[in-house]
């Protein structure tokens, strides 16, 4: 006997047909419930797409402007990296770069020298992060700083100059062509100051860079800090198709032979931000889940009312030999279909909104002004159009709606047929 039809049970086609027609029996109630579910699904889909979008953009931003895919440090540096120590530099950079560059999955490497500094225009003095970058070639192969230049030009080889975060420039009230004094403590512990002209302003959307960093040529930084031939980190860019964890593991193995080195992926470097993003996502999901649960209570209520109204019909079905499981199946299907209907409405409406913002983006400047939203995202936020995630959410809505119908379905299936048939 085919599995779809067993004695005492209804085939799936019959159950679906009955479920769908019963939904149409009380259209107004069905649409009210579906609209509630649809609204919840709409906001859930939009929020999810927005969260994933802003997270992806943030990660790209961090990789492109701050962390690269990975960084190689001297042993012990990473643990105290917030102090920006200069006494644990990378030495023999050429050998290190050659070793890391030969690792499968690595696209480019570049040394950087990061240090604590004070910037002064003669009146104000602001503590900043100074970053010495290799002007010729490699830094632009690993990072995307040139694309973030909003005014002036990127650093030029052999010329003194500074790329200043646009927020910092605003704080000082300075622009391209103006001069700033860089004050820093050298590796030996002495104080050193140099005057540097601002050649360009950068706006990355990353507050750490825009409002707290400046870039100078690596040679200038080395000269100022007394660290000839040294760097504090070797930033690594992976190729597009490389597996992050596998490449990281390969680098780890490759540098093990050199000794006294440590490699960290961008996720390790930015673990605080990732924890923040995860917390924010969880918070949003919990908030929206409450909304969805409230909508599903509507499904419970609708199915409960339907089961009451059809008490005699249930009694008749039982009299004809429908088992309790068959009755349960009917109401669970009805609930699921109601959820799927609402989910489809909400998902389609969300699809239109998401498709628009995935292309046009959401103007963060217009929405938040200069307020820090906690994500390193520049100007526009782009939603992510993920059909699979949307489909799964829609199906999950049907499943949850069926779950919400469990109680009324179980209640209906446990009725005494004699009483049910007498019900008026």
């Amino acid at each position: 006997m085919p599995p779809e039809i067993l004695p005492g049970k209804l085939g799936p086609v019959t159950i679906l047909r009955l479920g769908w027609r019963n939904l149409r029996r009380n259209r107004r109630r069905t649409w009210i419930t579906a609209t509630t579910v649809g609204l919840a699904v709409f906001f859930l889909q939009i929020t999810w797409s927005m969260m994933v979008g802003i997270e992806r953009q943030s990660y790209d931003n961090l990789i492109n402007y701050q962390t690269a895919n990975a960084k190689v440090y001297a042993a012990g540096y990473f643990e105290i990296r917030d102090e920006l120590p200069l006494d644990r530099p990378l030495e023999d950079l050429d050998a290190l770069q050659a070793t890391v560059s030969s690792v499968d999955g690595v696209a480019a490497t570049t040394p950087r020298l990061t240090f604590q500094a004070q910037l002064s225009d003669g009146t104000d003095q602001i503590p900043c992060l100074g970053i010495g970058v290799q002007v010729l070639g490699s830094d632009t192969e690993v990072f995307r700083i040139p694309q973030a230049v909003v005014d002036g030009q990127y650093l030029s080889l052999g010329e003194e100059g500074m790329l200043l975060g646009s927020g910092l420039a605003e704080m000082f009230g300075l622009g391209v062509g103006d001069w700033l004094t860089v004050l820093a403590k050298t590796k030996a512990g002495a104080y050193e100051a140099i005057d540097v002209p601002i050649t360009g302003l950068i706006g990355t959307g990353n507050p750490l860079i825009d409002q707290g960093s400046f870039f100078i040529p690596l040679e200038t930084a080395r000269g100022m800090l007394g660290m000839e031939g040294e760097a504090t980190e070797l930033a690594v860019r992976f190729s597009q198709i490389a597996s992050e964890s596998a490449t990281l593991a390969r680098i780890h193995r490759a540098i093990a032979g050199l000794g006294g080195l440590d490699v960290k992926g961008w996720r390790d470097v930015e673990e605080d931000f990732l924890a923040f993003a995860q917390m924010k996502r969880a918070g949003s999901v919990v908030f929206l889940a409450i909304f969805v649960v409230l909508a599903l209570v509507g499904v419970t209520n609708t199915i409960l009312m339907a089961a009451y109204e059809r008490t005699r019909e249930i009694g008749m079905m039982m009299a004809m030999g429908t088992r309790g499981a068959g009755i349960r199946g009917l109401f669970l299907t009805e609930g699921a279909l109601n959820g799927l209907l609402g989910g489809a409405v909400g998902s389609l409406a969300a699809l239109a909104v998401i498709a628009y913002f995935a292309t046009a983006g959401l103007d963060l400047q217009a929405l938040y002004g200069d307020m820090d939203i906690g994500y390193p995202v520049k100007e526009r936020m782009y939603f992510v159009l993920d059909f699979a995630a949307m489909g799964i959410t829609w199906l999950l809505t049907g499943l949850l709606a069926a779950f919400a119908s469990l109680y009324p379905a179980a209640r209906a299936s446990r009725q005494d047929p004699v009483r049910a048939l007498r019900y008026v």
Partner: protein, 236 residues
């Protein structure tokens, strides 16, 4: 004479709070195959309770019930459902068709429950049955598009389509005018004669009682009289 259903000293007592209400006080009946049996009696005499017990919708407090040679004693609710599915057909006073299904789908419904997976076989049986009850032309209508008499014809077709051992009808003509009621009894009688299906029905209507081949009168949960008759049928 083949006995198709048997009640032996059946009692049914309902409990209402601390109060015990005896609905059936000890009824014994042997119902022969192809009977057209009417259970009559005043309200509260136990007609519906007897039908519910014979319909495996309820279980007796004491005594034994056998249908088609099988006792319903000790059956779980699932077994009772399967038993009803296999052996019994029901016709209700208020027709109780599924309003969202067409006439054809309503009649097909018990066949699906019966486990007949061959769609063609189901369709053939449904079409045959609808022709027999004179509703072939209305197969695609919804119950709400039918008169009371037509709905009851559908209910009869639905009860008979799976060829049950017994068809139980609780006041099948109570919601119909006398002309339609007469047509429905004619139909039940012709089905009884044609298919040899046993019909047991409760009624208050003397016209319906007159058509029965056996009339069981109940009073206060006991059999008051049990009379065999020809029910207005030809002696041949």
């Amino acid at each position: 004479m083949t006995v198709t259903a048997r009640l032996e000293e059946v009692k049914k007592i309902y409990r209402v709070g601390d109060l015990e209400v005896p609905a059936v006080r000890g009824v014994s009946l042997a119902i022969e195959a192809a009977a057209f049996l009417s259970i009559a009696g005043p309200s509260g005499s136990g007609k519906t309770t007897i039908l519910n017990l014979l319909g495996a919708l309820d279980t007796p407090t004491a005594g034994r019930i056998e249908i088609g040679g099988r006792s319903t004693e000790g059956m779980s609710s699932k077994d009772l459902a399967d038993f009803r599915n296999t052996h019994l057909g029901f016709v209700f006073q208020t027709f109780n068709l599924i309003p969202v299904l067409t006439v054809r789908e309503n009649v097909e419904f018990p066949l699906q429950l019966h486990g007949i997976s061959d769609r063609e076989e189901r369709q053939t049986r449904v079409d045959t049955m609808l022709s027999e009850v004179g509703l072939a032309a209305m197969a695609d209508r919804r119950p709400t598009e039918l008169s009371g008499g037509q709905q009851q014809r559908v209910a009869i077709a639905r009860a008979l389509v799976k060829s049950p051992t017994l068809v139980l009808a609780d006041e099948p003509t109570a919601n119909l005018d006398s002309a339609t009621a007469s047509e429905i009894v004619d139909l039940m009688q012709s089905m009884n004669e044609k298919h040899g299906t046993t019909f047991i029905f409760s009624t208050h209507d003397p016209m319906v009682m007159e058509r029965a081949t056996r009339l069981v009168q109940l009073r206060d949960g006991l059999v008051e009289s049990d009379e065999r008759r020809n029910g207005g049928r030809d002696a041949s």
